[in-house]
């Protein structure tokens, strides 16, 4: 079998095969991220990639080129691999964009993979996003690569001796690192603010009466915004009382504060049924210790908290007791590292030289 393939690749028919493949590079429709817009542009009337005989077409079985359009997340990696496996040989892969090279703006994200780890890549196009010209350029160089059978740089840069440049007063130094890290940033959820909001002041009065003994503080943090500070033992009682008027949770939020060894859990609640409460968002928050991240689930009072709590469990590992779906991955791909948004997660080191394994 491999003899036959060898014959096709180097026998008397090889020039026909190469020529046909060269002028018929059909990319499959696999739009993964925003670079796809530039791909569309490259094939629309402005640049017209079809001039090169390249046509966006159907599905992987009938095509021979994958253009990875930017970011590949863990979930899309599977799709990319399946698409690649479905494609008949000979097949080629071009990776577009900074995201496909090293992660781009998603650099170090827990959800990113490099396309070159998933499929063999023929050409990379740098840029965020690369211009349509550079995409067409890549297709041209892929054509050349098919004809000659070897990879070449798309552009040969001229050597330039910098020492001869006149007018340079100081020696060129590498730029210093721009990273500034504050060791213990203060994280305060309820910064009080003076606003013209008489209804809010009335509301705070009412809350203070209704929630007697259940809160640490109630503050107005802006127009239509109220923050109630409490702890995890008393929060259920607060939820029970407030759920009479406030009928849904807008958002469940966790803030990781590693230097205080704690998480802050926030529930933003609001109302669809009481007219004057509609614009009001009340933030109920509590601090919990980091080594015992448990919080009572408020799902019994607010059904909409269910998915949000699961998502927060995915990201931070805060266990919402009472939510039946704790302990399993909800939206993240199965192979994502556990609790990726915790600040002490080890990020992958930057690596410029790779060891080549024999």
């Amino acid at each position: 079998m491999s003899d036959n393939i060898e014959f096709l690749n180097s026998g008397p028919l090889a020039p026909f095969k190469k020529w046909g493949t060269k002028w018929s590079l059909w990319p499959v429709h696999l739009v993964t991220a925003c670079c796809g817009v530039e791909l569309a542009h490259a094939y629309a009337s402005g640049y017209d990639g079809e001039r090169l005989g390249s046509l966006n077409y159907g599905i992987s079985r009938q095509t021979n080129l994958i253009i990875v359009e930017g970011a590949i997340s863990r979930k899309m990696a599977r799709v990319l691999r399946i698409t690649y496996e479905q494609m008949p040989d000979p097949k080629f892969v071009i990776v577009m964009g900074a995201c496909g090279l090293k992660g781009g703006i998603f650099w170090n994200g827990y959800h990113m993979v490099r396309p070159s780890d998933v499929v063999p890549v023929d050409l990379f196009i740098p840029g965020c996003p690369p211009t349509p010209e550079s995409l067409l350029r890549a297709i041209r160089s892929l054509q050349e690569k098919i004809m000659s059978g070897e990879a070449k740089n798309t552009i040969e840069f001229r050597e330039f001796d910098l020492s001869s440049v006149e007018g340079r007063s100081c020696p060129a130094l590498p730029p210093t690192t721009p990273k500034v890290i504050a060791p213990t940033p203060a994280i305060k959820v309820d910064v009080e603010r003076e606003v013209e909001w008489s209804f809010g002041k009335k509301l705070v009065k009412r809350f203070e009466k209704e929630l007697e003994g259940l809160y640490d503080s109630i503050k107005i943090t802006g127009k239509n915004r109220i923050a109630i500070s409490t702890d995890r033992k008393r929060v259920v009682k607060i939820a029970q009382i407030l759920s009479a008027e406030f009928d849904h949770v807008k958002n469940v939020n966790v803030i990781d504060v590693p230097h205080e060894r704690s998480f802050i859990v926030e529930y933003h609640i609001s109302s669809y049924s009481v007219r004057e409460l509609m614009p009001v968002v009340v933030n109920i928050f509590a601090k919990i210790p980091r080594d015992d991240p448990k919080f009572p689930s408020l799902m019994t009072y607010w059904q909409s908290a269910d998915y949000l709590e699961r998502e927060m469990y995915d990201f931070f590992g805060v266990v919402f007791e009472g939510n039946p779906a704790m302990g399993e991955k909800f939206l993240l791909a199965p192979d994502t590292p556990d609790f990726p948004l915790r600040k002490d997660r080890k990020i992958r080191d930057e690596c410029y030289c790779m060891e080549v394994k024999e």
Binding site: F16, G20, W23, A44, D48, E50, G53, I59, R61, P90
Partner: protein, 369 residues
């Protein structure tokens, strides 16, 4: 003994030369060639009218040229309508006209994947078997005096064979055993019933108009082209041709944006090349049929120098005109939904085709009286 003698006579050079395509322009050359022993035999065989019909027009050679041309032309036309250039760089000075050749070569050398769920024997042989109903009709279609098989039932035979093609497509979808193929196959079956009845009725209308089903006679009778005699039938025939070849706006069984080429979804490499061209081949046959039934076939000014080749050229031009019109539709229409297309063909088209039959019957009675 008698039989062997008959057979030998049937394959002899003299027998071929009795019924040869005569081209006055290059007659001296042909005469010279005929005198060379083996070459002469081959030349006589090729120029023997039935063989000429099979190999050159309307047969294989023209079919291949038309395929390569129309696929390129379609892409180029779509590109021009969208303010683009279309395939170009492959052969700059000729506008990239050999683009379809490159695509064909690429498919030819690509891997053919037969997936695990496919019914392997049928999956592989059906795209090849389908060439029987695709190529057979070409033998019955006359260009002037050049015709493969001359029979008074040519028209019903062609229509019957063409109707077999969707059966093969349904079989292909079944053998592929994938969900997109399944959806596409169902759609193909629905469309098949929907266009077949108006299509056959419009052909019947034209048989009534001419009073015969012999295509040579039909062409001879068309002093006035059929499209003027019965424009309604021509309209129905044209629309059902679009449906039958699943062109836009009726590209419902294939619909690559939603069901990824329907019945053909699992084919790769040269197999896909074969099944993809089916629609174009069918389009070629139906365009030939349209030019015979409605546009006067090989009728045109006789060109004395070209002799028997003149009707061939006229017919080729008419067929290409029909095909170009069909290709044009692709770039300017959006697709109908299946139910819309079915409603259209089962109501409006059926009514119009009934009217076409009435017109045909009226003309027939007028001729007899």
């Amino acid at each position: 003994m008698e039989a062997v003698y008959e057979l030998l006579k049937a394959v002899s050079k003299e027998h071929f030369m009795e019924n040869m395509v005569s081209i006055p322009l290059i007659q001296p050359v042909i005469d010279n060639l005929l005198n060379i022993p083996l070459v002469g035999y081959v030349v006589a065989l090729i120029l023997w009218k039935p063989m000429f019909a099979l190999l050159i027009f309307p047969g294989l050679l023209t079919l291949m040229t038309v395929l390569l041309f129309i696929i390129w032309f379609e892409r180029k036309l779509t590109a021009r309508i969208q303010w683009r250039r279309g395939p170009l760089e492959i052969l700059r000075w000729a506008g990239g006209i050999i683009q379809a050749l490159a695509d064909g070569l690429r498919y030819f050398f690509q891997e053919v994947i037969v997936h695990r769920d496919a019914h392997k024997p049928y999956f592989i042989q059906l795209p090849i078997l389908i060439f029987i109903p695709v190529l057979l009709p070409l033998l019955f279609i006359p260009a002037g005096s050049i015709v493969g098989i001359k029979t008074p039932y040519a028209l019903p035979v062609v229509v019957a064979i063409v109707s077999l093609i969707p059966v093969f497509i349904v079989a292909i979808g079944w053998a592929s055993n994938s969900r997109f193929a399944y959806v596409g196959t169902i759609r193909e079956a629905f469309m098949y019933f929907a266009y077949e009845i108006p299509f056959i009725l419009s052909v019947v209308a034209m048989i009534l108009v001419y009073g015969t089903a012999d295509m040579t006679a039909i062409v001879e009778k068309q002093t006035i082209p059929g499209i003027i005699l019965n424009p309604v039938a021509a309209l129905v025939f044209f629309i059902s041709t679009i449906m039958a070849t699943s062109r836009l706006p009726f590209e419902i069984p294939e619909a690559d944006q939603e069901i990824a080429f329907g019945p053909f979804v699992e084919y790769s490499g040269i197999m896909f090349g074969l099944v993809m061209t089916i629609a174009y081949e069918k389009m070629y046959i139906l365009a030939l049929l349209m030019s015979v039934l409605f546009l006067g076939g090989g009728n045109g000014f006789p060109i004395p120098l070209l002799g028997d080749l003149a009707p061939v050229i006229w017919m080729f031009l008419k067929t290409m005109a029909v095909m170009v019109a069909l290709a044009f539709l692709r770039s300017i229409y959006a697709r109908f939904r299946l139910d819309q297309a079915l409603r259209l063909s089962w109501t409006t088209m059926l009514k119009i085709s009934a009217v076409a039959v009435l017109i045909g019957a009226a003309l027939n009675i007028a001729q007899v009286a």
